[in-house]
Amino acid sequence: MNLEATLTSFHTVVMLIVFVGMIRIISNGRRTMCAVFFSFAVASVLLSDFYWLAYDILRPGTRMPFAANEIGEWAMFLLLGASLTSLRSINFHQARLEVLCTILFITASTALWISWSGEWVDDIVTGIVYGYFLCCLVALMKQEEMVPSYKWGMLGGVSLLLIAGQVVIFFVPDDMKRAVDLFCYGLMFLVELPFILRAMLTLKNTEMPARKICRCYVALAWSVSVMYMSTGGVYIVAMIATTLCFPLTLMAMKKEVEAG
């Protein structure tokens, strides 16, 4: 079994555990539409993983002409976004600037994905659905006043620097590419680490459950961004980080359901 298949198998097992955990929570909980949406999102990731593994076993070494497992990922983003809208009524007008910056970030990211993979349709659809999830998350966080203004500025600055770095790689000489690449990876994980730590810590503090969910989603969203912008060993680390975010969200969901 190759490394990618091993990693996907690990991811599948974790997702299976999270899915069973969610079913148990739903079975015991009340008024848990957010949890239902999240369970469906987990189910879609699980199906996507099964599809990938089945394809790898049945048709090893052949490229998918149309990546059907990506539909599962699109479903995940849409359902995660829908879970946020079921958590609170989101007012996008309150966070116009943040949502606009998010749209710019996702547009630039989509352009980069297309230039790397050449898969126009897949990348554009992924950009739209991922963008929807990010916009919901950003608007809800602004609405709940979870992040002070200076941190929004820092996040915007880092995102801008990251996109600029990735664009610069196309134009600099080969010997410079590696340095810029390393800088981008460093920047991505510099942000990733506090996001994941914050998501872990928030599970223990007395913050409202809805906020806990948001913090876990932030860690997940950034991990996915890092994953989509990485390759090789860094991709593996980003994938492990993404996988880790799901059990964290499961725990946050449990608190949300318990709170009623």
């Binding site: 199906l47 089945a54 049945l58 002409p65 479903a75 359902l79 829908a82």
Partner: protein, 210 residues
């Protein structure tokens, strides 16, 4: 090559005539059944067109494109009914089941005419798997629509997300049954397992709607 539209006409005409003599829910069921068969034909046309446009083979089209087209086409009439007529929950689930059954029936008819019906065992397995597959996926979607509407979370992303989930499930089924052996067996069991799982979840539904 089979003349699918001729086959559809042949099966549909007696059902259309029967509509003159039946009333109420039965009439609605038969109409939706006919609609399901029509939707199946249109889905086959679209898949055929996409197959030619993309240059994919028959097998690749069935694995990669058909699940997307078929699930989307099955949802369309259901969504149309829901948005325009706001039917009762029971009526919507009944329509969903009828559309799924019509779809599966016509697909099986065309399959039998193309590949033959010599092996009774295989035909039974296929009939059961395809029947359960199409009915379960559309039934689950209808339940999802009802719950989403009742709990006021009915939104475009929520519908599209669940549709994508159904597409992935269908794609996985098509991929597994495309190869003979253990994978086929797992593929045929998949809709049945999903049916059991959904029945369990369905029982929990009133709990959500409280």
């Amino acid at each position: 090559m089979i003349y699918a539209e001729n086959i559809l006409l042949c099966i549909a005409v007696p059902l259309i005539i029967s509509l003159l003599f039946i009333r109420g829910e039965v009439r609605r069921y038969v109409s939706a059944f006919l609609l399901g068969m029509g939707v199946c034909l249109i889905a086959a046309y679209i898949s055929g067109f996409l197959s030619l446009a993309t240059g994919m083979g028959e097998n690749d089209t069935a694995i990669f494109l058909s699940p997307v087209v078929e699930e989307l086409m099955k949802l369309m009439p259901l969504l149309f009914f829901l948005v325009l007529f706001s039917p009762e929950d029971r009526t919507l689930t009944m329509l969903a089941v009828a559309i799924g059954a019509g779809f599966a029936t016509f697909e099986n008819c065309c399959y039998i005419l193309t590949s033959g019906a010599e092996s009774l065992t295989y035909i039974l397995i296929r009939g059961l798997a395809v029947g359960v597959m199409h009915i379960v996926s559309i039934f689950a979607l209808s339940i999802w629509l009802i719950v989403a509407k009742r709990l006021q979370v009915f939104s475009f992303p929520a519908v599209l997300g669940s549709l994508s989930l159904a597409m992935t499930f269908h794609a996985l089924y098509n991929l597994l049954v495309s190869e003979p052996g253990v994978s086929s067996l797992i593929g045929y069991l998949l809709p049945l397992l999903a049916a059991v799982g959904l029945t369990y979840l369905y029982r929990k539904l009133p709990h959500f709607a409280e």
